[in-house]
Symmetry: C2
Subunit: 265 residues, 2 copies
DNA sequence: TCACATTTGTCCGTATGTATG
DNA sequence: TCATACATACGGACAAATGTG
């Protein structure tokens, strides 16, 4: 295989393997840690070659060879990139370009929230901050999308609410439907980052709630009603009304979060 | 040192070192990869002990000992956690609890944007998406904060704009002042996540712009004016006007991004 | 300034688990 | 079932960075 020019630099500064223990390695002052350098090299390799998610990357042995570094350094670099979802490692199969999803953002935000909940004076501070950001975002998104929704999209939204009601009456929780509703609502924007960001906040909220053993929505009927109010307002082209319904929806979530954190938790 | 209960599990399932090459390791079916398990253990250790950012963590040798795993596995796990800014590793000194900042979010978003810019049909698609999210967020934040700003805070905002004007007239770019303005603007909310999120978007935008070799704001005078318009509107308690000024500000950024991506870039 | 101990960084060699064909 | 290719994990050794006496 032939690697691009950027992949050759590190091997050049290590001409003979025999000199490893005799010379001071002669490392360029710019590149401090081998592992960090490998991270940059692999990332650059993906960008230079315009590799898409799922495309195969060089094996560990090939990276060792072309970069002139040990397996350990390669593995540590790949582990770090895996944590960022920049690469995906499949045991016994190979290494591939990752999805570059917001998974690391979710992981980091979850850790943050759990770590700072019992900390100092803040109680539900971290979680409330996430909720506020999500609310502000959705409020603004709603204003943008209110006039753009077609009848077909409104019908699909209503169908989701119907399924919510059905699930609620059957006593089944419907977190996925809630998520689907908000995702569908902002689809007309054509912004792929929006549903991912909202999904990230949603996942963090659920994970933190799960750790604390909260129940799944104590009042599903109310939740269904909030969503239906949104659709009704949107059908009537009532931007303010839709925004108000969304605000009411969030007020319910906040109340629940505040209540449960003080309660049995 | 004494480690909490959660740190003991892995060593228990490896009673004798001699059996390493004779028995099939007898690993619990739940926990597939040793490295991933160590990540969870260390994260849980931080949460259980309520360690704050900067607090010292067990050394690699101590983790090997208490978890009954090899140094390589410990290092790979710590490298992954370092990428998420959950731990911080200092060469020759020790390992510490990280800041849990949005650095991994910035890294991931930057990679995403660079990887998808020359991809397929989308040109400035990814960057435009980030700008739109930031605009929607700031629009909503502005509405919330408009009535809450004190005279002192408005004066500080105006002082930042004055420094912008000064820098602009001197021909110096003022990206940091721009950032400071937006940070100061939403300070009354008391939401620590807000400035970090906006800062993340801001950093991604600058990094991507830097890679493409864009210039620093071709029309600084206009940028200064936009910011002053915001302060003036806020002073007059004109929420709509402030929002409009903010929208104009973003329209300028978008135009610049679209223009430069088609130009010499 | 100079050792010195401690801790992380990198390397090597080997054995094992896992997926594909 | 078998063989191959690959990632996973182990142990030991030395290099490099940092803090301390």
């Amino acid at each position: 295989m032939s690697l691009p020019r950027t992949m050759r630099r590190m091997s050049e500064r290590r001409a003979s393997d025999d000199s490893r223990n005799t010379l001071p390695a002669a490392r360029s002052p710019r590149e401090r840690r081998v592992s960090s350098q490998i991270q940059r090299e692999v990332t650059q390799l993906i960008l230079d070659r315009r590799l898409r998610a799922g495309a195969p990357l060089p094996t560990e042995a090939e990276l060792m060879e072309s970069l002139g570094v040990s397996r350990n350094s390669v593995r540590e670099a790949l582990k770090a990139l895996q944590a960022l979802d920049i690469v995906e490692i499949r045991h016994g199969y190979g290494t591939y370009v990752g999805q570059a999803s917001l998974t690391p953002f979710v992981d980091g935000l979850t850790f943050r929230t759990l770590a700072r909940q019992a900390d100092d004076t803040d109680d539900t501070g971290a979680l409330a901050e996430i909720l506020q950001v999500r609310e502000v975002l959705e409020e603004g998104l709603m204003r943008r999308v209110a006039g753009e929704l077609s009848d077909g999209e409104l019908a699909r939204l209503e169908a989701v609410v119907d399924r919510m009601e059905e699930a609620g009456l059957a006593g089944r929780p419907f977190p996925e439907l809630d998520r689907e509703f908000h995702e569908l609502l902002y689809a007309p924007l054509g912004n792929a980052l929006v549903p991912q960001l909202l999904g990230a906040f949603w996942t963090v909220f659920r994970r933190v709630s799960g750790v604390r053993g909260w129940t799944d929505d104590p009042a599903p009927a109310v939740t269904v009603r909030r969503h239906r109010d949104i659709v009704v307002a949107l059908r009537a082209h009532d931007v303010e009304g839709a925004q108000q319904a969304m605000a009411d929806h969030f007020r319910g979530i906040e109340a629940r979060a505040a209540q449960e954190s003080r309660g049995v938790g």
